[in-house]
Amino acid sequence: MAVFPWHSRNRNYKAEFASCRLEAVPLEFGDYHPLKPITKFSSQVTESKTKKVNRKGSTSSTSSSSSSSVVDPLSSVLDGTDPLSMFAATADPAALAAAMDSSRRKRDRDDNSVVGSDFEPWTNKRGEILARYTTTEKLSINLFMGSEKGKAGTATLAMSEKVRTRLEELDDFEEGSQKELLNLTQQDYVNRIEELNQSLKDAWASDQKVKALKIVIQCSKLLSDTSVIQFYPSKFVLITDILDTFGKLVYERIFSMCVDSRSVLPDHFSPENANDTAKETCLNWFFKIASIRELIPRFYVEASILKCNKFLSKTGISECLPRLTCMIRGIGDPLVSVYARAYLCRVGMEVAPHLKETLNKNFFDFLLTFKQIHGDTVQNQLVVQGVELPSYLPLYPPAMDWIFQCISYHAPEALLTEMMERCKKLGNNALLLNSVMSAFRAEFIATRSMDFIGMIKECDESGFPKHLLFRSLGLNLALADPPESDRLQILNEAWKVITKLKNPQDYINCAEVWVEYTCKHFTKREVNTVLADVIKHMTPDRAFEDSYPQLQLIIKKVIAHFHDFSVLFSVEKFLPFLDMFQKESVRVEVCKCIMDAFIKHQQEPTKDPVILNALLHVCKTMHDSVNALTLEDEKRMLSYLINGFIKMVSFGRDFEQQLSFYVESRSMFCNLEPVLVQLIHSVNRLAMETRKVMKGNHSRKTAAFVRACVAYCFITIPSLAGIFTRLNLYLHSGQVALANQCLSQADAFFKAAISLVPEVPKMINIDGKMRPSESFLLEFLCNFFSTLLIVPDHPEHGVLFLVRELLNVIQDYTWEDNSDEKIRIYTCVLHLLSAMSQETYLYHIDKVDSNDSLYGGDSKFLAENNKLCETVMAQILEHLKTLAKDEVKTLEYIKKQSKQPDMTHLTELALRLPLQTRT
């Protein structure tokens, strides 16, 4: 193989740099600049621009468009209304609650014809109810799709009628529509109801309107069944979903009848706009429903299509609502009737929110029938079902809260006061009181907190559990502030009751709510007392094990109010409180919360020993939870949090302390690779920091310290698993060592890196996918070469020993067949070697003599260098030979290149190449 003597071209970097630089053109103020229209925001500039356009004689419309084009399209995305941030805002329950809270404050009292967004919709309540009212008992669904069976009341009927109804029933049986489903679990029940909802839609879609109506009637009939009473609220939710579907279908159908006369009906149409067919269909529905035999289905189905009254007359809805309200009086069971009222209020609020009278009437009717709850009929039923009063009464709040909420929405203070007075007058008003507190404006409640505490105290203990009342009050106080003067007394009075609660579950549910109030208005002393009390209650019999969610909430609330972590950790009971989280997964969750808050709120780096101790403990807990089964995401999350903490620790000028902190951290967090990486970077940064302080001139002491830092990195890197992480860190640490004049250490790093290269596998795992590693290796090596340029040779080793070693490694590395990577690397090596043969190198490190000054352009060195080049060149040519197929192309490329003015040296090569291939 022929050898090509190599001569590096001499470069004058300074002159080249000067010639490459773009010429700077001075710009007068007001001259055109392409970036100006985007960056200028001042109105003055906008104005001048539009003026300019006007002068060109364009119309005002173009001028306005040109001025609007001044707005940067990207900035408009950033004003917070983009869909993602809006979505995020609604998805976050805490943010939602905050938004609702604020909107509750600025209520618009004038507009009450439309329900505003400040009205908490039913959909929010739905899930809550379904989650809360569950049962393990067996349920049954009984559906008669046929006409009503004659009950006792039909005894006087004529025979013929009986025969007729029988026959009708038989017809219906043929439809296979009578079903009695027994022994359903709750989930089965929910599924069945969902099926019914679907079959309703199907029946409607296939034009079987009568079947659809039958389904709805049978479903609403289920609401008169109060067996398995603890499930009733959930049943209500499920079945009213079907009713809503039905109401919507009927309304849309009739609406569509009005539409086909080529003009679309507006949303707020008047009955005159509806055509006769639509009216007649509508009327038919109402007649059909009016003939439903049973009260409860008749009520629900009519209520569900209340909106359709809009087609018939303007006053239809306002006449229907009071009638339906009165109709509920016929429902004997108080629970069934209160839910019927809730449904009517719900429909009423949706269709005609301005008709407040009905809402109030429902409320007062409810008060009139309130005594029934304690009547014999209900009591007997409870005995039969084996349900105690304290678990029966909590079935009422969802419906009551809803009714109260509807009434109190935009209601004048006077009405609320009146309602409160009416409630007060009734005996055992705990249930009412609770709903008043859950539904009325928080401000209203908060200003009367002391009254409410008084009323709660007077309540009869046997009925509605008192702790629920205190919980409700606490929820209000979390949203609105009571008068300044009452605050401490409120806390004392409330806590006096709370602390006496025997059942840990009751206690924690209540305490959890009141922690918010305490944190909001009081200092760490009170918070400490409260936390101590919680610990006292929850420790016996390991009661905390059943209450982790509440305890977590308490921690979250405390953290949310104490942004200053030195204050937070000086709350004595805070850490003992954390000790209650003994289940590891929960403990880690809590730790994450704390760290999250710390990263978010800690502005300044800290060296406060209290914070450091506590947070190191917290981080250690997180770290220790990592095991072989921990998911990657979880590890990443934990690492992120711990890194956040490490970055916020600073001992200022006390660098040694800082280093020993890093040493300690390393021993603590050895299982999380990203943390170790962060520590290495931190230590490197510390070394550079030191250099900066010493302005590059290390003293004996700082030199020793910097070497300690370097040593830290050197022994930490091998413990990492990621091959490229290690390579890059070796390189990076080597650069730092070099910058700090630790030459032999730097050599060690580079040698380590070189010896690591053969270990680079063919494929590496990136985000769960296997990818070829060559491109990464190429990238790293190029980077490495740039550094090698300035690394001075060791006097005891040969010339360019690092480069040689690296070349050997590259040579031996098993490259992918037919890949060009190796050659690409070799060309980079050529670059490097050419750069090395220059008289003065392109760049240097301060206070480090590179080979240019070491050898001073010694011819021996240059010869050595050229020899290396020739070897590399031979390798390249070898490769080109294997590319025989593409030889012509290669040749042409080289020829083309050689024609460029500064590439004349390639001409010779171009001439020789064909010869070469021919031999």
Binding site: A152, T156, A158, A290, S291, R298
Partner: protein, 268 residues
């Protein structure tokens, strides 16, 4: 593919009065053109007496002697023989509603024709009280639980298009209430020299209270008269159609109390 034929009447509610004009269209839709022998439209109205299941055997002879009576009959020729083009053809028509001879036309249950009865409407409210003592047909009065129901109907003279309204208050009741229902009954009487047949039919039953309702709180009485099964109260020489409403109260465990109110329905 066959040919579809549909008669569409102009008024959505399909109610016409004597002397008015019944108008609409005949819609013929077909894929291909159709040959036809002409289209004529016949309107016919008859009265037919039907045998009630209850009276079978008793008055058979009497009923069988009555043949369906035709009260209206008219035919118009719409189209002469020819061909309908493919697609949809609409042929409008009009019928004047004139009575045959000098027969009187009564409103039917199905509401096809209405003889406008210029009946005067005067509200006639009724108050009532029901206690064990007010009841008739009681086997053992002593076994009845004590109760007191009060209430009123706003009027027993009712306009057929307006609901029956009133109030019912359970002032007291020893036994729990199971249900309160309104039962609308139609009483038809047919007679001639040989005798008469009386037939009571429940045409609607509406529950107004379900379960043990609150004492002392008024429960509304409200019933819409069904369009297909009611007509104004009618009394002629040969037959009568009357209506009654029963308030039926069911008590635990198995007591049934009924209070009957005759109604007079009219149309204004």
């Amino acid at each position: 593919m066959g040919t579809a034929l549909d008669i569409k009447i102009k008024r959505a509610n399909k109610v016409y009065h004597a002397g008015e004009v019944l108008s609409g269209v005949v819609v013929i839709s077909s894929k291909d053109s159709v040959q036809h022998q002409g289209v004529s439209l016949t309107m016919e109205g008859t009265v037919n007496l039907q045998l009630s299941a209850k009276s079978v055997g008793v008055f058979e002879a009497f009923y069988n002697s009555v043949k369906p009576i035709q009260i209206i009959n008219s035919t118009i020729e719409m189209v002469k023989p020819g061909k309908f083009p493919s697609g949809k053809t609409e042929i409008p028509f009009e019928f004047p509603l004139h009575l045959k001879g000098n027969k009187v036309l009564y409103e039917t249950y199905h509401g096809v024709f209405v003889n406008i009865q210029k009946g005067k409407f005067t509200p006639s409210p009724v108050d009532f009280t029901i206690t064990p003592e007010t009841l008739q047909n009681v086997k053992e009065r002593a076994l009845l639980p004590k109760f007191l129901l009060r209430g009123h109907l706003n009027s027993t003279n009712c306009v057929i298009t307006q609901p029956l309204t009133g109030e019912l208050v359970v002032e007291s009741s020893e036994a729990a209430i199971r249900s309160v229902e309104l039962q609308l009954v139609r009483v038809e009487t047919c007679g001639c020299a040989e005798g008469y047949a009386r037939d009571a039919t429940e045409i609607q039953n509406i529950q107004i209270a379900d379960g043990d309702v609150c004492r002392g709180l008024s429960v509304p009485i409200y019933m819409v008269f069904p369009r297909l099964f009611t007509c104004p109260t009618l009394e002629t020489t040969n037959f009568k159609v009357e209506f009654e409403v029963n308030i039926v109260v069911l008590l635990h465990p198995d007591h049934l109390i009924t209070e009957n109110f005759p109604l007079k329905l009219c149309r204004i």
